[in-house]
Amino acid sequence: MGTTTTTVPSAGPFAGSRSFLFRLREGDEIARLLTFLFAASVVLITVLLVYELWQGSALPRHQFGFSFFRTSAWDPVFDQFGALPFIYGTLVTSAVALLIAVPLGIGAAIFLAELAPLRLSDTLEFFIDLLAAVPSVIYGLLGIFIVVPLMRQVIQPQLKHYLGFLPLFKGPAFGLGFLTAGVVLAIMIIPYIISVSREILLSVPRDQREAALALGATRWESTWKVVVPFARTGISGSIFLALARALGETMAVTMVIGNTPIISASLLSPGDSIASVIASQFKEATGELYTQSLIELGLVLFLLTFILNGLARIMIVVTSKRGTGMVHV
């Protein structure tokens, strides 16, 4: 902690130690030390987390190496573990979620930032913050009892009827599966996209808009061709942030994805994701290799979200620095 000593260099050793004693008596050094311990524990926890994940997955890392990510057999009885179906499921459900959530979320953010009067915008933002606070198990509950029956009886038969020639919509309509999980995920991440994109759009300087309007652009043209491109990096950041949430989302996905490790081109097929396989199997996992393979999946998930969150944060900060406002992430 070389940087925190604050003795005055010109005062000599005696004066320095006296001022140290003085500060000690006043309690400042004690306060600093105590609060430092708490702050340091945050770093310690983080280091420990990475260490535990790495150490806890040593067995499958040595035994399977990179083939862990290439094989799709998941057979606890014969100690065969391949992560491919889960990685596939995580990516597919997140992609479906983004396809639905990005247009909706950015559209809503544009409305809130560019069109709505400030009072209305703030009120709607309040509701959107509440939506972001709804726990994922509640989304899962609604998913099981509302989205799944709706999918099975209405949406999936329609999709099969009109788009059944595509490999994406083949097979029986179970209700549970990739598509349903993606839809529930989309509902969950829309609030994040809206909140962050709205703040980014609000931080775009006023004169950008005014200049476009003065040149004869319509309101939409000034928004779509000037304001949105200005905020592009930050909006991408908000999407990355939402993607990181979607990848790590556990409960809602576990409840509606079907929990079957299959790789299928059809979105109607049941599947499994990294988070959902950990949630549904970790407790029952018997044998070191089984448990540790699940921990290795956790490590993969951790690394994925770590990279995405980092990128997102950089993008959002870069944009908000170019603009006028400070955006909280």
Partner: protein
């Protein structure tokens, strides 16, 4: 007006109203969720839901008293871990730390904040379940507490930093030592923000399920003390919702209504009343 201009104006009006539709759709989801929960849960919430233990499998009736108490115990533990570490850590960052140290701590907190909750569960499992060889209330509270730390830390620091420097200097000029300045001037003038932060962090972890699945596990009976597995509302919702029993589904709705009601009330109090006029960062 020529046709080109009329077309452009039409496109503008059309696209802008489309964004309005997006906003309406997004917000109406909240009211859909609420109305479904009130509709399904409201008919299932009864006095015995709050006072009785779960009925044996196959029997109708019973309640979730043990899950409610279990959740309260878990959240108490989480607060005991999350609030002090977050609060004092934030004081160090805002008042004592050099910028290099602050960067490291902040980076670690942001990283921790982004960790998926299921991974936090694995971490808590290997730290608080494996060494003791059994699932426990303590392990569950530990997992939730870990999740609370980064949320509390980052926003508390922001509120401490937003206290005007003149207040700080005024107190120091009167001869107060640094910790006295912090305890009597800085923290009191940022208390509303800090309280809001803690409430929001509490509401956030109150609904967390994934970290509890293999730490606090679940329990169909009362859990005495802190070293036994315990039931909790979120895990009970999960287990009941995926069960095949009609009666359990109704109880899952009831539990969902109680849990969401609690979380929304805390959020509304925190954002609407306490945080009036201060900006609360999203975590």
């Amino acid at each position: 007006m020529n046709r080109r201009l009329r077309w452009r104006k039409f496109v503008s009006a059309f696209m802008l109203s489309l964004t309005g539709v997006c906003a309406v759709v997004a917000v109406s989801v909240l009211f859909l969720i609420l109305s479904y929960l009130v509709f399904h849960g409201g008919t299932s919430v009864s006095w015995s839901f709050f006072t009785k233990l779960p009925a044996p499998v196959g029997e109708a009736g019973g309640g979730m008293a043990n899950a409610i108490v279990g959740s309260a115990k878990l959240l108490l533990l989480a607060m005991l871990i999350g609030v002090p570490v977050g609060f004092f850590g934030a004081i160090y960052l805002a008042e004592f730390s050099s910028s290099a140290t602050a960067f490291v701590v902040r980076y670690a907190a942001d990283l921790l904040n982004g960790v998926p909750s299921i991974v936090m569960g694995i971490f808590a499992y290997s730290l608080a379940v494996l060494p003791f060889k059994h699932f426990s209330t303590f392990a569950g509270g530990f997992a939730l507490g870990l999740m609370m730390i980064p949320i509390t830390l980052r926003s508390t620091e922001e509120f401490l930093r937003s206290v005007p420097a003149s207040l700080r200097e005024g107190a120091m000029a009167l001869g107060a030592s640094k910790w006295k300045t912090i305890a009597t001037v800085i923290v009191p003038s940022a208390y509303r923000g800090i309280l809001t932060t803690i409430l929001l962090a509490f509401a956030r972890i109150a609904g967390e399920t994934a970290p509890l699945l293999f730490t606090a596990l679940g329990n169909r009976f009362w859990s005495s003390g802190w070293s036994q597995p315990t039931a909790s509302l979120p895990v009970a919702i999960y287990n009941y919702a995926i069960s095949p029993y009609e009666d359990w589904h109704r109880q899952a709705w009831a539990a969902g209504l109680v849990l969401l009601g609690l979380i929304l009330v805390i959020n509304i109090v925190a954002r609407g009343v306490l945080a009036r006029g201060i900006s609360v960062s999203r975590s």
